[in-house]
């Protein structure tokens, strides 16, 4: 009986994949969700883990718990190594998996633009362990600095370079500045905090490129107030772990480079044997199907689909979620013998926070910056965090930080 049902395999339990799995809950099919981590990660808050504002457990939730009770679903924690589009099979850590429909919601990975030295030495905000590693590095730098007699080496240990002026870079630089000025100054009373430098490097001449100019300027202004040196027209050419070399020849001695300069489709996209678009993304039809393979859908960061202006949608959660809905609906329609629908992005606006009381927000044509935008950001993020308990703990953590200028998670762990 069960074997006659079609098998729908969803790869990835991020925002897109989770949406697909949920929207297929009443499908007359066997749904298999595959994820190598086993938990859904609230990636937009990784920078909070890296700056000791939240513990890693607070922005992750087990996929099995989220999808508990969904009768037609099997979860499988393993890595997908290869997709065979002709045979309709996946090669996984647990052997071969056959599919009738496939949704690739594989997400993104840092884009180093071919800079091997950066890939080797820089820190990123890719997953929980990279965020915890970055947290250990930041806090460890202060432990080293406090024991370092050489002034040059001490300054290099306390120089943090953030590459990339998009939302991740701006949020990271802002949160790092606050961690240092509001919390670590109390933990290290013997340290001269004039030795601390935070640089935010942006290759173009503005931050947050998707935002209206007024908000771009507000963001730069707020970062300056927090003593972040915002540098425009600055691109990294090389990094050896101790010195950042900029295109143009400038050298910045810095023990920590945080790479937030770009994202590309996850590695599996390179192994599909398909022509790839910009950022390694997989070109899809307006229906999110892969050309020539109507049974294969791609959603989220890994999907490439130009809008009327020739632009792909940004690599953000709302796009992944909306595309997930369309992919699920098109599979249900296919099962019912109906024609697929087209994806049209409905932009809910953008938000970025630059620390305590300060954010920039655009919703449609409405825009705001400062405290009100920050409240909006806080509400939206707490609302979206999966699982009520996490929401409560996150709220307590933030309320605590807000009132007491403290960070509970500032542990240097060897994990």
């Amino acid at each position: 009986m069960t074997d006659s049902l079609p098998t729908i395999v969803v790869v990835g339990a991020g925002f897109g994949g989770l949406q697909v799995a949920r929207d297929l809950r009443r499908a007359a099919a066997r749904v298999v969700l595959i994820d190598r981590r086993g938990y859904h990660l609230f990636q937009p808050l990784l920078y909070q883990v890296a700056t000791a504002g939240l513990g890693p457990d607070q922005i992750a939730y087990p996929a099995r718990a989220i999808l508990r009770g969904q009768q037609n679903l099997d979860f499988c924690m393993t890595e997908v190594r290869q997709v065979n589009l002709v045979n309709k099979t996946l090669e996984t850590g647990f052997g071969e998996v056959r599919y009738d429909y496939l949704v690739l919601a594989i997400g993104g990975t840092p884009n180093y633009f071919g800079l091997q030295s950066v890939a080797q030495h820089a820190f990123t905000l890719k997953d929980l362990s990279s965020a915890v590693n970055l947290r250990n590095r930041i806090l460890g730098a202060f432990e080293r600095a406090v024991q370092e007699p050489d002034a040059e080496r001490r300054r290099a240990a306390l120089t943090f370079v953030v590459a990339g002026g998009g939302p991740t870079g701006v949020e990271m630089a802002g949160a790092l500045a606050e961690l240092i000025r509001l919390v670590l100054t109390k933990d290290y009373p013997r340290l001269n905090f004039k030795d601390v430098r935070i640089l935010l490097l942006e290759a173009s001449d503005r931050l947050l490129s998707g935002m209206p100019p007024k908000l771009q300027e507000a963001a730069a202004e707020t970062l300056w107030h927090k003593h972040v040196e915002v540098r425009f027209g600055a691109a990294v050419a090389d990094y050896d772990g101790d010195r950042v070399l900029l295109k143009g020849g400038e050298v910045i001695p810095a023990c920590t480079l945080i790479w937030a300069a770009g994202v590309r489709a996850a590695g599996l996209a390179d192994r599909l044997g398909m022509q790839q678009a910009r950022q390694g993304r997989v070109p899809v039809e307006r229906t999110l199907q892969v050309a020539g393979h109507p049974e294969v859908f791609v959603v989220g960061d890994a999907a490439y689909l130009e809008d009327g202006m020739g632009q792909p949608p940004p690599m953000v959660a709302p796009v992944a979620i909306q595309q997930g809905r369309v992919a699920a609906r098109n599979i249900l329609r296919a099962l019912a013998g109906q024609a697929p629908e087209e994806f049209v992005y409905s932009d809910p606006g953008t938000l970025a926070t630059i620390g305590r009381n300060a954010a920039v927000a655009r919703v449609g044509r409405w825009q705001a910056h400062g405290f009100f935008a920050w409240l909006l950001w806080l509400g939206v993020h707490i609302f979206w965090l999966v699982g009520f308990r996490n929401r409560l703990l996150v709220m307590i953590n933030w309320a605590w930080d807000y009132f007491f200028y403290d960070r509970g998670a500032r542990l240097i762990t060897s994990e």
Copy 2:
């Protein structure tokens, strides 16, 4: 000026070392607290991290934050490699440190009694990363089992052997049984939970050797009700990662062995060049001073000092704290030209929990088991957790688990 002050070095920020540092807050001395981790760990709750009841951040707190505002104190995060008792210096990761008084509060490490294969393959509850590793292993075992077609291998993946019937082993076995029966049964509806086995091996013929016989039996009874197979007279002879060999020849196929069979003094005790007592501990005078070195004190798990009955005090937090107080007082007395006092252990009682609603407690001659003992255990542990925020988060986590049979921290992380 400052250089004429004596330097008191305290090694270890556990219960003992922290107590010493705090009690020296008004000393006319420079106090240096050295710890390789940089945070105080509430070790008695490590088993909660291993069973996904608490996140690692919730049982650890930065040493700098705990000791913030203590003017005469410097904290130093580094490893102490060697102690030179003659020159009164320590060799650390940041170079040589000179002391006038030294307190070794270096704690314990798992005692494998020479079983190399166990040291290599078994899991322990030694520190945060070993607890997180164990959590990953336990949860990962279920992910593997759900995909494993071979029945023998599936049963081995789901067999958890806990070696040692002391408080750690009893608490670990009880918490593991609850995690599985109350939470994971919901996460893995396709799995046959009759394949799950939890064994608690105890070499002697009773659990919780320090407890009154009535409570020992109550503990065993409670574990049986939770489907933990308690085996007396069972000692591990060898383990290759797949099969536990018992003395006597019995073989138990099990992918997870959790070693809770003993603790010995931390490795630094072996490098002092001193005669060591049982469990590698350092013999001290009744004043906690090392014979021939009145400027050196040892407190906590690493100190060996027999009571009137020829028994050393147990390796538990109350002993470390009380010894820390005496060591600090004796240093203050020495600075004032007074004779040292002797340590006398005032036993506050013992407590062990065996999961939801069940614990055993002894306070003086009063003893209890069941729900009331569990409430006492809960209160004592929440009270002792350092830092108000942690206390609040821990309370919320536990209340949540209690009412909803859920575990928020059940993430398999690669950290």
